[in-house]
């Protein structure tokens, strides 16, 4: 199967080691959240898992094969990456934007049209297809950008803080879209700042602290108050029952 695996990887950026000796095997069909304080190396880990940042040590493999050895287009067809922020240089229509996801397939105007339509439908963006991105709200834009990744029909969807800057309703909606991709058998990895969202929606949580893995497991254990206290330096308590938890923290 298409397991995405980090084998003892270290990553350096700008001469600084930002991910240290980290190992994790991620299963398709699950949603994994990467959590940690600012500067813990979450984005760098995600980039390395996407094959976009070379590892200084260790290797990332996809389906038992080193991700580095994949030709760029083949890797791009298997691993979709959604960067942080909503950076679109030109005021293109939603449909043109989503069609960019077919770039590694090179069939945006042919066989890929079905995938584009499916992606628009999955994110409930069909009604917006001819609207310029400048006229979308933040939530609509985030969905359009997610649809761009979905249009590539990757086995893995790696998203860096896709919920940042979204209001509550849009956060739930977008994470619902990602959840349904995981339930459909794709692998989903998201960097999340909001621990409650990770607690309630992820199947597995990787907690990073200064580039190293501080906890790894089901949300209830990985985000245990003891871990939160150790990593974030905050006394915190989970309220509610499993699946509908809220975090109360005191500095």
């Amino acid at each position: 199967m298409n397991v995405l695996e980090a084998q003892n990887i270290s990553v350096e950026r700008g001469g600084r080691r930002v991910v240290r000796a980290l190992s994790a095997a991620l299963e398709p069909g699950t949603m994994t959240a990467i959590c940690g304080p600012n500067g813990a190396g979450k984005s760098s880990l995600l980039l390395a898992l996407a094959g976009l940042l070379p590892t200084a040590e260790g290797a990332v493999s996809l389906g038992q094969r080193a991700l580095e050895s994949y030709p760029a287009a083949e890797r791009a067809r298997k691993v979709g990456y959604l960067p942080q922020g909503a950076d679109v240089a030109w005021d293109v229509s939603v449909e043109s934007l989503v069609a960019l996801g077919r770039h590694p397939h090179g069939d945006a105007r042919g066989a890929g049209r079905d995938a584009i339509a499916t992606a628009l439908a999955a994110t409930q963006m069909e009604a917006f297809r001819s609207r310029p991105v400048s006229q979308l709200s933040g939530g609509e834009k985030a969905r359009a950008l997610l649809a761009r990744v979905l249009a590539g029909e990757p086995d893995w969807i790696l998203a860096d803080e896709p919920l940042a800057a979204l209001d509550l309703a849009h956060q739930l909606r977008l994470i619902g879209h990602l959840r349904s991709r995981a339930d459909a058998g794709q692998g989903v990895v998201i960097v999340l700042h909001d621990l409650a969202l990770a607690m309630n929606h992820a199947d597995r949580v990787l907690v990073l602290d200064e580039g190293a893995l501080a906890a790894d497991g089901a949300p209830e254990e990985a985000l245990d108050p003891a871990v939160v206290s150790r990593v974030w330096g905050v006394e915190a308590r989970w309220l509610g029952e499993q699946g509908a938890r809220a975090l109360v923290a005191r500095g």
Partner: protein
């Protein structure tokens, strides 16, 4: 063919014959007998090469502008940013120094040859820098493109300074005025020779840019996203250096510095397309051809004592347009 391509191809088909008729001597196509003495000579040996040269230069600059704006993800980018045009100009200015030493048969070719060598030098330098600035292109750290553009700007200002030095040290007053005049850009008194020099290079250059177009589209989403879509940043940059170098180098070699075309044209075309760089390059080539053809026909028929230089004319149109563009951007309804 896209809607924008059709519009500008139609416009070009209309403008080309008109431009052949316009000039100091107007040629009436409906007169039974030639309306002017030597009408055929004027048409075939003077106006046709001049019009084709305008088309080639405009097409090259328009396509290069569209590609540059796509690459830098910035509607204010211009093909001059890589420093290819100033370096080609420096080469041309150098030819004013050595041209006199060459046998007359070669002297006619020395200016375009030196300008092309200048463009080639800039391209070689840029390729060297590209290898370094993007060597960690997969590091996801971004900024590779910005770094590279800064390097291009440095090449441009170095070439500009050397050109200014060459002007102040001109061997004599005549050479000085020749250089200054040439730098202003014009396609007056050009022959088929210049067409044969420029047209093939421009065609190849536009072809290279078209090959790069799909990668430029992916760049719409940013450097990291483009990388994740399988774009090879090194290959893209090489294609861009080659494409912009060939089109801009060729146009400087035969016409001097023609500004503003590469900056303006993509803005005229963009509203007619889906705004992705790939939909822009072809129509921008056609629109650039139209613009330079119009401007060159206009300078021919303006009732001035000496013909207005094409480069000056285009800047006269270009600067106010650019100002309008900036004001429009402030209102936020840009691109």
């Amino acid at each position: 063919m896209s809607r924008a391509s059709l519009i500008f191809a139609g416009l070009l088909a209309l403008l080309l014959p008109l431009s052949l008729l316009a000039g100091r001597v107007w040629i009436d196509p409906f007169a039974g007998t030639p309306s002017a003495p030597n009408a055929t000579l004027i048409l075939v040996e003077l106006r046709l090469p001049r019009a084709l040269l305008a088309v080639a230069i405009g097409a090259g600059l328009g396509a290069a502008g569209a590609a540059m704006q796509g690459y830098l993800r910035n509607p204010l980018a211009d093909p001059g940013l890589f420093g290819i045009a100033p370096t080609a100009a420096l080469g041309a200015v150098a030819s004013f120094w050595v041209g006199g030493l060459l046998p007359p048969a070669l002297a006619a070719w020395s200016l375009p040859a030196f300008a092309l060598m200048g463009a080639g030098l800039a391209m070689a330098l840029l390729t060297l820098i590209a290898g370094r600035s993007l060597s960690d292109g997969a590091s996801g750290s971004g900024g590779g493109i910005a770094l590279f553009t800064l390097a291009g700007l440095m090449i441009a200002s170095l070439a500009g300074a050397l050109t200014a030095l060459a002007i102040t040290m001109a061997p004599n007053a005549f050479a000085l005025s020749q250089i200054v005049l040439w730098l202003n850009g014009a396609i007056t008194d050009r022959s088929w020779n210049e067409v044969w020099i420029a047209a093939p290079l421009v065609i190849v250059g536009i072809g290279v840019l078209v090959v790069a177009a799909r990668s430029l589209d992916a760049l719409t989403l940013g450097e990291e996203a483009a990388l994740s879509l399988g774009v090879d940043p090194q290959r893209l940059l090489w294609l861009l250096i080659a494409g912009v170098g060939l089109t801009v180098g060729a146009s400087v070699a035969v016409a001097g510095i023609i500004g503003f075309v590469g900056l303006i044209v993509p803005h005229l075309v963009r509203p007619l397309t889906d705004r992705l760089p790939s939909s822009l390059i072809g129509p921008s080539a056609l629109a650039g051809a139209c613009l330079v053809l119009i401007a060159d026909s206009a300078v021919r028929v303006l009732p001035l004592v000496t013909e207005l230089r094409l480069g000056i004319a285009l800047s006269l149109i270009g600067a106010p347009f650019f100002l309008w563009l900036l004001l429009k951007m402030r209102r936020g309804d840009m691109s």
